[in-house]
Structures are given as structure tokens and as C-alpha cells.
């Protein structure tokens, strides 16, 4: 027996000198301990935060985000294919709704990433204070835009401003809607202070000072702070800014005229990187969106998931241009049956209208191609490279018009509204509009100007018109709308399920 003990002891000794075999490092990537060493790391982290804007599942300007922001409007219909989209569009959505859940989750992912940058940039060696300020400002802009998107969709939401240290930091309670707005404004104010007016051409598309001011103005408008909205947005009409409306309205939705003079903030999309638009966050991910594919009619390989309602079709026909034609914005927004009408280089008559609506969506579609499915990589291409314009100068002008009108000064709104009208070849407004008349005009112009750009539902809510405008629409499911239930999405069920503090 003694021998056994000796041998056993020897084995133990043998074992104990081999503990270093248990020290293995991950060969796939570096860890947080060795990151944030230089400016390159900061830029990479920034790309990873911007990248979520186009995320296919819930990026605010990815396909599901675009469907979600438009789908609840009185001008939009989503067909019964993807159930959770149909449900949110027909106001039968529950807290489990996949699109709303993804929107929430993706926004918070971006916030987590922005928080990492905000916390780590001060400690990056070799970075000038000026650059540190600029990078922090950029991250704060990204954080603010994500909170903006959260608060207009969900109302109350957890306000998370730092990186979790341990697992106790995963469970934040909801902050009141007003507190989220306060934070959005604070971040945007700081972002506006630190961001450049313009980036070098190689970096074009990153957040600018103008973008931060534009969003700040919008935040003031959404919270009814008309004076601040006016003061903020007016900055964009003078130097150092040089925004202007493009002569051709359609240039705002074409791949060939991206980042133009009207662009305040634009989501950069291109069919570069990998080939798979559903690939998730990895090298195979194509860096565009599949929205055009999902919105295109079946005759050009599309999935015709959405349509405009005829309420929009009719609204466009309310007023003719100075030359007696229909609004040029109508031609850029939709395709319909008129003499000589073509779409995707085919006569309109080649297309079948499936849901009883009169039009097909044209805005942001790649309709100059013969088929939506032909893209730049020459292979399977569901990816559209067409940048989504998150904020256009036209929006700034109409927001300004609204801010001044709401303060009881409709006269001051004329310049802004007329600028938008004249670009559309409409006559200048007659003088002497009352506040209500001017607001009605602004509402009408916003409906036409921004169809498919995801503002309508939120505009109607600001104006207190959700119930009436949805009810008088020809939208399927309008009878299910209930202001108290459907003005905001409920907190996603998965958040409620996993967060004991969500309240």
C-alpha cells in the first residue's frame, strides 16, 4: 500500500507542474483588456455602432425598421405574409411583436456600443483632446439618435449611460419618457458642440454638427418646446451650414445622388462587404438593405410586402402644379396607371395591383433597373445600395414652419413652406393663413413630402390625429386602432420577461 501512496503522490506532483496547459487564449480575437489602444480602435468601434442602423432585424433604417416606422401610418398597408408586420400594421400586435422587439434590442445594442466609446476614449493613449472631444461627441450623437428612436416608439425606456461592470448592471428600470427626452437633448447639445460641420470626403456620411442640431431641433419639436425648436433649427439655415433643397425632389431617393445638399443625416448603404444581407454582423454581411427587394412588385422579383393606401394617392391629387400637372413628388413617390406610365422599364400595365390599392411604391426603389434583383455584385442580389435619408433639409424647413406656427406666428412659416412647395412646382401660398390653416398645410405637405420616410405615424401622434386620420383612411385593420393601446409599442415581452426591474 505504501507504494501506491508514493506513486499517487508522484502523479500529483507531475500534474501540478502542468497547470500552465490550462492557460489558453482565444485565437479568434483580442479581448477588451487589449483594446482601445489607439485611434484606429476608436474608429472601428464607431463603425460597429453606426452599422446597427442598417441591421436587417431591427436597425431603424434596415428593412424591418422601415416597415415598422411606416406600417402603422394611415398611408401604408402591410400584407399578411410576415405575421408580426401584418399585426402591427393592423393594430393587432402584442408585446411579443418581433419587429418591435428587435427595434428595441438593436437600439440598445447601439447604446451599449456608444457607451463603450464614451467611456474608453478619454483613456486612449496618443489621442489629442480635440479628437477625444470629437469622438465622444460622435458617440453621443449615436446614443441620442437611438434614444430618440426608442422614446418615440416606446415612450418610457431604461436610460443606460454607462457600460455594465457586473451582472447587477443588466437590469435597469424604465425612466419616464420626459427623462429620456432630457437625455436626448443633452447628448445632442454636446454632440453639436463637438462635431465638425463637414467631414473629409473619405469620411462622408458620419454625423455632422448639422445632423446633431437637426435632431436636437426635432427633439424640441416632438416635446412641444416650439421656441427651442425654432432657435435650434434656424441655425441650419445660416452659415456655417449650406443646406439647400435639391432641384429635383427624386434626387433624394436615388443611389446616384447620395449625400447631396439636402442631406442632413443619411444612412450609408452599399452592396459592399459580403454578399449576404441576412448574414448578421460578420464578414459575409452585405452592407446594404433588402428594403427595395421586399417592397418591389412580384413582376420584378419583389415580395410586395407593403403598399400605399389610396388615401395617399388621393392626397397627392388634391393640388396641381403651376403648370397644371400632378405634383412631381407624386411621380417620384409612386407608380400608377396613367398614359405612358412605366416602372422598372416596363409599361405599368405589366404589373398587377393585388390589394385593391391603385399604386406601387417607387421611392427608394431601384426602378431604373429592369428587375429589382440585379445588383452591383452581379450575383444573388437582394441588396439595395440606396442610402436611406434619415433627415433631409426639407424636414428641417417644415419643422421650422411648424415651430413658428405653433408659437402663433404662421406668417413666419411662409418662407419655409413655400420653399418646399416651390421645389414641387406648386404655387406660393396665399397670404393671411391662420395658425390652423398653416398647420393644415404643413400637415398636408409633410404627408406628401415624407411618404415612406417613416415620419407619418409619429407626426399624427404629435398632432393628436392618430384616431381620426387612421379611421378615415382606407387602411386595412383601421377598425382595430385604439389610441390608448396603439400610440406606442408596449415594452417588449422579452424585456419584461428577463428584467425584474422593468416595472
Amino acid at each position: 500500500m505504501k507504494k501506491i501512496y508514493i506513486l499517487f503522490g508522484m502523479t500529483l506532483a507531475f500534474a501540478s507542474c502542468n497547470t500552465d496547459v490550462l492557460e489558453l487564449t482565444n485565437p479568434n480575437g483580442i479581448t477588451t483588456d487589449t483594446y482601445w489602444r489607439n485611434e484606429n480602435d476608436v474608429n472601428q468601434a464607431m463603425a460597429a455602432t453606426y452599422g446597427l442602423f442598417k441591421n436587417v432585424d431591427g436597425g431603424y433604417w434596415g428593412v424591418r425598421g422601415t416597415e415598422l416606422t411606416n406600417g402603422r401610418g394611415d398611408d401604408f398597408f402591410i400584407r399578411n405574409d410576415v405575421s408580426y408586420l401584418y399585426q402591427l400594421a393592423t393594430y393587432t400586435n402584442t408585446a411579443d411583436n418581433g419587429a418591435a422587439t428587435s427595434l428595441w434590442n438593436i437600439a440598445y445594442r447601439a447604446i451599449f456600443r456608444a457607451n463603450q466609446t464614451i467611456e474608453n476614449v478619454p483613456n486612449v493613449p496618443g489621442l489629442s483632446d480635440e479628437l477625444k472631444t470629437r469622438y465622444i461627441a460622435e458617440a453621443k450623437f449615436l446614443r441620442a439618435v437611438n434614444y430618440f428612436n426608442l422614446v418615440i416608439n416606446f415612450g418610457d425606456a431604461p436610460l443606460i449611460l454607462r457600460v455594465p461592470v457586473d451582472k447587477n448592471d443588466y437590469y435597469y428600470p424604465k425612466s419616464p419618457e420626459a427623462d429620456v427626452w432630457t437625455q436626448v437633448k443633452q447628448d445632442l447639445t454636446e454632440a453639436a458642440a463637438g462635431l465638425p460641420v463637414e467631414w473629409p470626403s473619405a469620411s462622408k456620411g458620419r454625423a455632422t454638427k448639422g445632423a446633431a442640431i437637426g435632431y436636437l431641433g426635432k427633439a424640441h419639436l416632438y416635446t412641444g418646446d416650439w421656441a427651442s425648436a425654432q432657435a435650434t433649427l434656424q441655425q441650419l439655415t445660416t452659415t456655417p451650414f449650406s443646406y439647400s433643397l435639391t432641384a429635383n425632389f427624386g434626387d433624394n431617393f436615388s443611389q446616384n445622388t447620395e449625400n447631396n445638399s439636402e442631406s442632413v443625416f443619411e444612412i450609408q448603404l452599399a452592396d459592399v462587404g459580403g454578399t449576404n444581407p441576412w448574414g448578421g454582423e460578420n464578414a459575409s454581411e452585405s452592407l446594404g438593405v433588402t428594403t427595395a427587394q421586399e417592397f418591389a412588385p412580384q413582376e420584378v422579383s419583389g415580395w410586395f410586402e407593403v403598399s400605399f393606401t389610396d388615401k395617399l394617392f388621393n392626397a397627392f391629387q388634391q393640388e396641381r402644379t403651376v403648370s397644371g400637372d400632378l405634383d412631381p413628388r407624386m411621380y417620384a413617390t409612386m407608380a400608377w396607371n396613367y398614359p405612358g406610365s412605366t416602372f422598372y422599364n416596363k409599361p405599368f400595365s405589366d404589373f398587377t395591383l393585388l390589394f385593391g390599392y391603385s399604386t406601387l411604391i417607387k421611392k427608394y426603389q431601384n426602378y431604373t433597373q429592369t428587375n429589382e434583383l440585379v445588383g452591383s455584385s452581379g450575383a444573388v442580389n437582394y441588396t439595395s445600395s440606396n442610402n436611406e435619408r434619415a433627415m433631409r433639409y426639407a424636414d428641417v424647413l417644415l419643422m421650422l414652419a411648424e415651430a413658428v406656427t405653433q408659437q402663433g406666428n404662421p406668417a413666419q412659416a411662409y418662407t419655409y413652406v413655400n420653399a418646399v412647395r416651390q421645389r414641387a412646382n406648386l404655387a406660393v401660398l396665399p397670404a393671411g393663413y391662420t395658425k390652423d390653416q398653416m398647420m393644415a398645410e404643413i400637415r398636408h405637405q409633410r404627408m406628401l413630402e415624407f411618404a415612406r420616410e417613416g415620419f407619418r405615424f409619429y407626426d399624427l401622434r404629435r398632432w393628436g390625429l392618430l384616431q381620426s386620420e387612421i379611421s378615415n383612411s382606407d387602411k386595412q385593420g383601421r377598425e382595430n386602432f385604439n389610441t390608448s393601446q396603439h400610440s406606442y409599442f408596449p415594452t417588449p415581452q422579452s424585456e419584461v420577461d428577463s428584467n425584474p426591474n422593468i416595472n
Partner: protein, 1035 residues
């Protein structure tokens, strides 16, 4: 003449034996028949004695003429010659470990006798990890199956044949696709993480045993309790499955050949609508919603039956299996060599599987040294069906029932040649097109090498070094042809993806074994040191736009995509065990293992896993002698031990930076490379540990013809390693692994075996019974609820796991009937008088407002049942009469629920897909006595939401196996020079008695534990019924 006989038979080689019998023996018989029978009373009788189990000859068996002292023994080839004393003499054959047999001579010259093993007498040896132990000295709960019990059943997977054979061992098919393998659960769910047991083949850890050939298996031992498994320490909490492959036996070479031919057919087809029926239902649903009818459905009467997509994708499929083995050896060396081939078509078109395997196992002794090795190589190739082309159909099986029957299978004008869906219907891809236009194959090469050297330093002390190596390489290919399938599925180029992965395990084990008897004291001790390292590497390459018919990456004109990654982990352990028995009455086993794992941070790297067990062979006590007439065996076992679990990913303790999270930037709109932290690390994670106490009783009655065992166990798993869902607001893309909680399991297992005979009718009845209950004691944040089991593309979760409840309990909004009138809808009001279901109309489902807040939402979910059965059972019957044998096996579960996810889709008339025939019975003002709600395309009341409406009783009883065999009489064997020849016919999965409406109630599927009991029929591969026949030949 005697000599002539003996020599002829002994020297005869198989090839010449037939000739010998004809030429040499014919004259002998002629002589015999010429003389008077009575005159040659003392004619010698010769014959061979073989084992029934494996057909091997039995050397040294005793042959006696009954009632005389005339006796002889068999030679090394199991042959004997004896001179009976009279014509009506009876021979008595005895052999240790086998049941004695008596045979009347009745004038025969050649009598071949097959002895049946007497399980109760044989000093059975059980494999317990790093050694064996005599069954009588065993203290742990170990399930044991002999290879001979794993008779061919027309299935190619070893694990499937274990279903229902061992109490406490649950086996579920991972799917009906050929090569799918099985999922094994030992004693329920002891972890929420990875419940896969540890598999050890000939001493080497492997990921799966599905690739083994059942003919190669000597025995399978399942270590169920902590005492038995503790020697595997940190990896043993889910139980250990030890597979021992066949070794050679000293003696003449023995050849075995077997072949099996079977036919598989879909067990159950789902009832869906014909084209005309579909159009009528669709029109009713559109009308009810007040929206225009679909153009597709305009004229129902003209549509007829349409396409039966199920008939289009299923087929009768062949399975063939061939095996050849040779084994033998001498006192100094033994060998066993085998090869096998199986080829199986799947019941779904264009799916198949084939596998080749070769195994060599030898052992050589010289002096104090012993060397041995196992070499096992298998190669298989699997052709799978597409997992789905996006859209809402699921895989081809799901699409086959969801595809609207109006659409045609083929369209010669379309790119690719297939038809498909068009118009405003749900995106469901033509399943036949999917099966033909996407070709997915994987080829796996598995190598297992194990070599050992053992030195007997002292007669009682042996040192053993064991080297193990496994290499599992997979090459996967996905070729995607260009197509236009209907208007919804377009793929303009031919694309190819190829991926290779390699898993390598290197194992080094040093053990010392000490065994000695000191009078009545018997000691067996073990000490060891082991090291293992695991490496994984993966690379993939893809390219688009290949020329038609070319399947090479280089030929692609489009965009290339590459990927790759690697991981490694290591485990260092010391172990020790002492097995002590006193007089075979008092037994003690104690073991300890200390493991160090690279998967944990340096603070929590080591874990110690001790166990102790005591046993008492009551039937060996003197005081028991009085009882011995009634009760022959009685043994009590009590064990306690702690086991670990480390089955989490590598490097979880450090937060990594994920790269290639890209965006676009600049006037050139080029890629902007991104990288950041996307998930949280868990620096403090430590071992999950399971403490188990087990009480066992083994007994034998009626001269041990009735034997059985009862085990009760209680397990407590603490610090469960789990990816606990954290709130989306935390911003991580994945959930971090944390030590999440405590889980309790207790269970009762019963195994019974009764063997008997009535004349020439021998039979054996056996059964197992298992009842396990689990309960979550604490979880995550305390109030943490983990939801799982999303049953459809769009459904809410179905299960909840939380403290105080069972794992993965169904938690659903309750369906409480159908509103018959508007008055019923209007009077269903909440506390403030508001309508609870304002969008409802007569014919809609009434849901239970559990929290009485006046609205139906997820706060109204209630516990609705468990996916775990109250009990599981298996029972079988083996019988033989003369040369016939039969084998029947049943298995089943009771008390479990299944959420029928596919039914939720097929009864949802708000989806423009094909429906189940159940919707023909939908509520209408004329048809009110039904549980199926009205057909309505918009579904404003959410009748089709995830609710108890789709929860079904999952209990079943399956007639799993029926096998009838016939063994050629031994008198014929000798003439054709073989040891045994058996032919059989077999049926697998013959009939299942169940109320469950889906394809099959044993869902299998390797998913998260929180998805258990949810039938994902839209991505399933249904099980087949198999009828087969085969031949087993030994010579």
C-alpha cells in the same frame, strides 16, 4: 471410424466442408444403414457446442451421458465425441455460466448443441471507467446492455436501439433523417445547459456514438449515479456512456457475416386540404374579414384536388447494411477485426446517408507486459434536405403541408424548371424545387485510436499508460442552383459554399491498478493522472455565379466569401478510487477526481469531485439462509457523490472584441471595418456541480429467474452554468454564461427480468420503468423567468422555467371555448365593465383573463402542463421455440404534453397557406359544436395566437420492434460447415398508439432545454416505419 469422423470434422475448412460431407460421410452412412441399427448400440456421437449469444464454440464444456459416469469435455473448438450407453441415452451438457441442457441421442450421430447463457450464474463483469468490477461487488447504479441485445432492427444508429432498454435512460431520435443520430438523457435533466452524457469508447472520449456499428459492440454500460460516474469528475454530471467494442477470444478464427435489407415508409401523413377545399376556406376567410377574395381562389369547383405535395416529396426508401468480422487469437494474442457498410435512402426525396467503418482491436501479452489498441475509422456521407429558403414555409417537410395545392410542381419555362407560389400568399417555397435545386452534403471522417501498454509491476499492481486520439473531420458542401420558383423565390446565380472543420482530441492517461485478496478482504485500488486537449478548426469558402454544372469555387465569377475560426480547451486531472469488499458481503467504493479546466478563469479553475458508496449483499449473510429458498439475491446499495459540468463554450471568462461589424463610409461608399465588444464576459464563472444520493436494491427470486433492481435517487445541481437571458436593454448580442441557479431532480427506476421455459419454449420478459421529477429551486435574478419554445415563425414563447416550478413548463394563455353569440362577447367584461375581447365576434376563441385586468395579454398565461412525462417505460419479450426466436419491444411515455407548432400554422386561416383538414370543421352559425374557430383572414381576435389551443397530450405507447428469426438446425450447420445461420424479419416503429396529432410524439431534436416538448413540425424530418430482413452467419 471414430477417428475418421473426428478428423474430418476437425480439419475441415469451411470451403471444403460441403464436399467432405458429401463424399466422405456418404459411405459411412451407407454402411450404417446397411447394418442393423440395434446392433450398433455403441455408435459414437459427435458434435459442437456453441454459445447462443455469439455463436462462438465453447471449449471445456462437460458432456455426460445421463445417469452414468460416461463423460467428456469439448476441445478447443467446442467439439466432442462421446459413446452413448444406449440408443435412448440422454446427454447432459453443462458449462459454467450457461444453463444446463439435456438432449436425447435418439439414434443421431451428430448433435450440435447451442447453450444459452445463464445471466444469473455468470460472474458478470461491469465496466466502470478505468477498469471493471464484478457485478456482485458493484455499488453504483449502472445500466448494462450486451451487444447481442442490440440486434439489427433495420436502423443504422446504435443509440436508437437503446430506447427503453435501461431504466433512467431516455433516448430520442434527433429526427427521421438518415444519419441523424439520437439524443440521450440520463436520469432526466440535471443541467439546463448541456444535458448530453459523456461518451467513452474503449477509454477515449468521443462526441457521439452514432457512427458506431452495432455489430462491433461488446457492451454498453451507462453510469447513472454519482458513485459510478465520479471517476469522470467534471464531465460526468449528465451520466457516462461507456462503450466497449468486441475483442477476440482465444481459439480458431471465427468469421461472422451479416446483411440486412429494409424498406422505410413515412409513418404518418398529415391531412391537409385539396385545392378545391382550400379555395373554399380561403374565400370564407377573406369574406369574413371583409377583404376581396384572392384571385387564385376565384373558382373553387374548377380546381379539383390539385397537387399533393406530401406525395411529391416522400418515397419508400431502402436501407441496406452489411457487416463482416473475424476474430480469434491465442493465449498470448487476440484480435478482432471488422468492417461494415450501411447505405440508407431517406423517406424524403434526395436525402440519403452511407457509412463505411473499419475496426481493429488487438491485445498481446508477453511476460508482465500487455499491449493493445483499438483503431476505428468511419466515413460517412449524408445528403440533407434544404433547411428552408427563407419565407415562412420551413424546410421541405414543412413546405409540403403549407404549400397551397393550387400551385404546380413544375414549370418548364421557369429558370430551374419548377413552379411555385405567386400572388398575395405567404412565402412558401415549393418543397420539390427545394429538394432538387439545393444540394447539401456533408462527409465526415472519424478516426479513433487508442493504444495502451500495461506492466504488471507486481502480480497485484499494474501500471497502464493509455494514449487516445480522435480526429473528426467534416467537409460540408452546399450547392445552390439558379432558379425562379414562382414569383416569390428567385436566385439568379449558381452558388457554392464549402466548409471544413476538424476536431482533434489528444488524451494521455497514466493509471496504477492494485488488486489483491487478503483472506476475505478484497481490495481494488486505482490512481491516475490524465491530460487531454481538444482543438477545433473551421474554414469556409463561398463563391457566387458558377457556370451551370460546375461545382468548384475557382469557377465562380461572382463575389467570394471566406471565413474561419478555431478554439481549444484542455483538462488536467488526477483521480483515485478504492473498491473494497469483505467476504462479498460488505462493499465499499470511494473515489475522487480533481479536474483543472481551461474553460474557467484562474480563480475557479479546479474542481474536486468525491464520491462514496456502500453495498451490502444481504443474501450472502448466514442469517439469510432460511430465506434463500424464496429469495436468492438481495443487495442494498447506498451511494453519494458530487459531479461537475463544464459544457460551456471556451473563453467565456474573458470579453472579446468582435470584428467585421461593418458600415459604409465616404464618397466612394466603401466598407468601413468595425469591431467592438458585443457581449459580456463572465470572469467569475465556476464549475457547475451536482450532488447525488442513490438508494438501490437488487433482488432475485424464483431461483433467480426473476431478477430486478430498484433505484431511487435525488440530485441537486448547483451553480448551473447557463446562458441566462439578460434584458435586451443591456445591449449584448448573446446572453452571458453565468452560474444561474439550483435544480433538483429525484426519480425512481425499476428494472425487471423474468426468464423461464416450458419444454422447448424458452422465454424472457423484461421491462423498465422510470419516473423522474425536476424542480427549479432558484434561478438567475431570483424572480428570473426563462421563456422558450417559440413554436412557429411568428409565435410567442410557450414555456417558462422559474424557481419553484419544473424546467420548461408550458405556460400559455388559456383557450376556454368559443363565443357562440355576440351577446356572449359583449357580456365577457373586465372589472371596469369593458369588453375583454373587443375585437371578437361569434365563432372566435374565448381566452381566460387570468389576472382579471380586462385585457388578454401575456400576463394571463397559466401553467398548462409539463413536457416531461410522469413516467416512461419499456417492455419486451424474447422467446425461442425449437429454432425459431421472436423478439418484441414496446416503449412509451405517459403524462407529458406537446405543443403542436405545425398545427398552429395549419389551422391559422389568417395565413394564406394550405390548411389542415381541421379547418373544414370551423365554426359557422350552422356548425357551432366545434372547437375550431371561424375562418377569418384578418384574425382580429388573435384566435391563432400561441395558446393552450395547440397544446396536446403527448403520451404514447409504441410497438417499436417486432423481430422473428429462424436459426438453421445445428444438424444442417455441420453439413455445410458453419457454426450458425440465422435469418430474420424485423419491423421497427411498427405502430404508435397516441392521441398526439403531429408526425410523432417523441420529438427528439437537439435544441435548447427550454424548447423541450415543442414540436417544430415545420422544420422536422418525420420518422419512418421500417420493415427489414436479414441473415446472420457465423463460421
Amino acid at each position: 471410424m471414430t477417428n475418421k469422423y473426428t478428423i474430418n470434422l476437425r480439419k475441415a475448412k469451411w470451403g471444403t466442408l460441403v464436399m467432405c460431407s458429401l463424399l466422405a460421410t456418404a459411405p459411412v452412412w451407407a454402411n450404417n444403414s446397411a447394418g442393423s441399427y440395434a446392433a450398433v448400440v455403441q455408435q459414437p456421437v459427435t458434435g459442437t457446442i456453441t454459445s447462443k449469444t455469439d455463436g462462438m464454440p465453447l471449449p471445456g464444456a462437460n458432456v455426460t451421458v445421463k445417469g452414468t459416469s460416461v463423460s467428456t469435455s469439448t476441445d478447443e473448438n467446442g467439439k466432442f465425441t462421446i459413446l452413448p450407453t444406449s440408443a435412448d441415452a440422454v446427454l447432459v451438457i453443462t458449462y459454467m455460466g450457461f444453463k444446463p441442457q439435456e438432449v436425447a441421442v435418439s439414434g443421431q450421430n451428430t448433435i450440435n448443441i447451442i447453450l444459452e447463457e445463464d445471466q444469473t450464474q455468470l460472474e458478470e463483469v461491469v465496466v466502470v471507467g478505468y477498469g471493471t468490477v464484478k457485478k456482485k461487488d458493484l455499488t453504483g447504479a449502472v445500466g448494462h446492455v450486451n451487444g447481442s441485445d442490440l440486434k439489427q432492427q433495420g436502423v443504422s444508429d446504435v443509440t436508437r436501439t437503446l430506447q427503453g432498454r435501461m431504466a433512467g435512460v431516455t433516448v430520442e431520435a434527433s429526427g427521421g433523417n438518415p444519419g441523424a443520430g439520437s439524443r440521450i438523457l440520463i436520469r432526466g435533466v440535471s443541467s439546463l445547459n448541456n444535458a448530453t452524457p459523456l461518451y467513452i469508447v474503449d477509454g477515449v472520449q468521443v462526441a457521439s456514438i452514432s457512427n458506431l456499428n452495432s455489430n462491433d459492440i461488446e457492451s454498453i454500460d451507462v453510469l447513472k449515479d454519482a458513485s459510478a460516474a465520479a471517476i469522470y469528475g467534471s464531465r460526468a454530471a449528465n451520466g457516462v456512456v461507456l462503450v466497449t467494442t468486441k475483442s477476440g477470444k482465444a481459439g480458431e478464427p471465427v468469421f461472422s457475416v451479416s446483411s440486412n435489407l429494409g424498406m422505410q415508409r413515412l409513418y404518418k401523413k398529415l391531412n391537409v386540404l385539396t385545392a378545391e377545399q382550400w379555395a373554399n376556406v380561403s374565400n370564407a376567410a377573406q369574406d369574413a374579414a371583409g377583404i376581396p377574395r384572392l384571385e387564385l381562389a376565384q373558382n373553387p369547383a374548377s380546381l379539383g384536388r390539385g397537387t399533393d405535395y406530401q406525395d411529391a416529396i416522400y418515397r419508400d426508401a431502402m436501407i441496406r447494411q452489411y457487416d463482416l468480422s473475424v476474430s480469434g487469437g491465442s493465449d498470448s494474442g487476440k484480435y478482432s477485426v471488422s468492417g461494415g457498410y450501411v447505405t440508407q435512402d431517406g423517406i424524403v426525396q434526395n436525402t440519403d446517408f452511407n457509412r463505411y467503418n473499419v475496426r481493429v482491436k488487438t491485445e498481446t501479452k508477453k511476460g508482465i507486459f500487455k499491449f493493445g489498441e483499438t483503431v476505428f475509422v468511419s466515413r460517412d456521407k449524408q445528403t440533407q434536405m434544404a433547411s428552408g429558403w427563407g419565407g415562412q414555409g420551413g424546410n421541405p417537410v414543412g413546405s409540403a403541408v403549407k404549400m397551397i395545392p393550387i400551385f404546380d410542381i413544375y414549370n418548364p419555362d421557369a429558370v430551374g424548371g419548377y413552379g411555385g407560389a405567386y400572388g398575395p400568399v405567404v412565402n412558401v417555397a415549393n418543397p420539390v424545387a427545394q429538394l432538387n435545386l439545393e444540394n447539401i452534403t456533408s462527409e465526415n471522417t472519424n478516426i479513433l485510436l487508442n493504444a495502451f501498454a500495461e506492466a504488471a509491476i507486481l502480480p497485484e499492481l499494474k501500471y497502464k499508460i493509455n494514449l487516445g486520439y480522435t480526429n473528426n473531420s467534416t467537409y460540408a458542401k452546399d450547392y445552390y442552383k439558379k432558379y425562379q420558383v414562382g414569383t416569390l423565390f428567385t436566385h439568379p446565380t449558381n452558388d457554392l459554399t464549402e466548409a471544413k472543420s476538424q476536431n482533434v482530441l489528444v488524451l494521455l492517461e497514466n493509471t496504477l491498478n492494485y488488486a489483491k485478496d487478503f483472506g476475505k478482504h478484497n481490495i481494488q485500488a486505482l490512481a491516475g493522472y490524465t491530460y487531454q486537449k481538444y482543438n477545433y478548426k473551421y474554414t469556409s469558402a463561398a463563391k457566387t455565379d458558377l457556370p451551370d454544372g460546375i461545382e468548384a469555387i475557382d469557377a465562380g465569377a461572382g463575389t467570394a466569401n471566406v471565413g474561419g475560426n478555431a478554439t481549444e480547451s484542455s483538462l488536467v486531472s488526477v483521480l483515485g478510487r478504492v473498491i473494497y469488499s469483505y467476504d462479498s458481503r460488505y462493499l465499499l467504493t470511494a473515489s475522487v477526481r480533481r479536474d483543472g479546466s481551461s474553460r474557467f478563469g484562474s480563480a475557479n479553475r479546479y474542481g474536486t469531485f468525491p464520491s462514496v458508496a456502500v453495498g451490502w449483499n444481504i443474501s450472502n449473510e448466514k442469517f439469510f439462509e432460511k430465506m434463500a429458498a424464496k429469495l436468492q439475491t438481495l443487495k442494498l446499495r447506498v451511494t453519494y457523490g458530487e459531479l461537475g459540468n463544464q459544457e460551456i463554450g471556451d473563453y467565456q471568462y474573458a470579453a472579446s472584441i468582435a470584428s467585421n461589424i461593418n458600415y459604409v463610409m465616404g464618397d466612394g461608399q466603401t466598407k468601413w471595418f468595425g469591431a467592438t465588444q458585443t457581449a459580456f464576459a463572465s470572469p467569475a464563472i465556476k464549475w457547475e456541480s451536482t450532488k447525488t444520493i442513490n438508494f438501490g436494491l437488487d433482488f432475485g427470486l424464483l431461483n433467480n429467474s426473476l431478477t430486478g433492481n430498484i433505484d431511487y435517487f435525488s440530485k441537486k445541481t448547483t451553480d448551473i452554468l447557463l446562458n441566462v437571458p439578460i434584458p435586451g436593454s443591456a445591449g449584448a448580442i448573446t446572453n452571458p454564461v453565468v452560474n444561474a441557479g439550483t435544480l433538483l431532480n429525484h426519480g425512481l427506476e425499476l428494472g425487471l427480468n423474468y426468464g423461464g421455459n416450458a419444454g422447448k419454449f424458452n422465454y424472457n420478459v423484461y421491462g423498465t420503468f422510470t419516473s423522474i421529477k425536476n424542480k427549479v429551486e432558484s434561478l438567475g435574478t431570483g424572480s428570473q423567468q426563462i421563456f422558450g419554445g417559440q413554436p412557429t415563425h411568428h409565435g410567442a414563447s410557450t414555456t417558462v422555467t422559474e424557481a419553484g416550478g419544473p424546467v420548461s413548463a408550458f405556460y400559455l394563455i388559456k383557450d376556454i371555448g368559443i363565443f357562440q353569440t355576440q351577446a356572449e362577447v359583449d357580456s365577457y367584461v373586465g372589472p371596469t365593465g369593458q369588453k375583454i375581447q373587443p375585437n371578437a365576434a361569434p365563432g372566435d376563441i374565448k381566452f381566460f383573463d387570468k389576472n382579471n385586468d380586462g385585457i388578454i395579454d401575456n400576463n394571463d398565461r397559466v401553467y398548462s402542463g409539463s413536457p416531461f412525462p410522469k413516467f416512461e417505460y419499456g417492455f419486451g419479450f424474447n422467446a425461442s421455440y425449437m429454432n425459431f426466436d421472436a423478439n418484441i419491444f414496446f416503449q412509451g411515455t405517459s403524462g407529458n404534453k406537446i405543443y403542436n407548432g405545425l398545427r398552429q400554422d395549419l389551422e391559422s386561416t389568417n395565413l394564406a397557406i394550405n390548411y389542415s383538414t381541421a379547418v373544414l370543421n370551423a365554426w359557422t352559425p350552422e356548425n357551432t359544436n366545434t372547437s375550431v374557430p371561424r375562418a377569418i383572414a384578418s384574425d382580429p381576435n388573435l384566435n391563432n395566437r400561441t395558446s393552450s389551443r395547440f397544446l396536446e397530450n403527448g403520451s404514447y405507447l409504441r410497438f417499436k420492434t417486432l423481430q422473428i428469426g429462424y436459426t438453421i438446425p445445428s444438424s444442417v450447420n455441420s453439413k455445410i460447415g458453419i457454426s450458425s445461420l440465422r435469418i430474420y424479419a424485423s419491423a421497427d416503429n411498427l405502430v404508435t398508439f397516441t392521441k398526439y396529432g403531429g408526425y410523432n410524439p417523441d420529438l427528439g431534436r437537439t435544441g435548447s432545454i427550454f424548447d423541450r416538448g415543442v414540436d417544430y413540425g415545420h422544420v422536422a424530418y418525420p420518422l419512418a416505419r421500417t420493415i427489414s430482413g436479414g441473415i446472420q452467419l457465423t463460421f
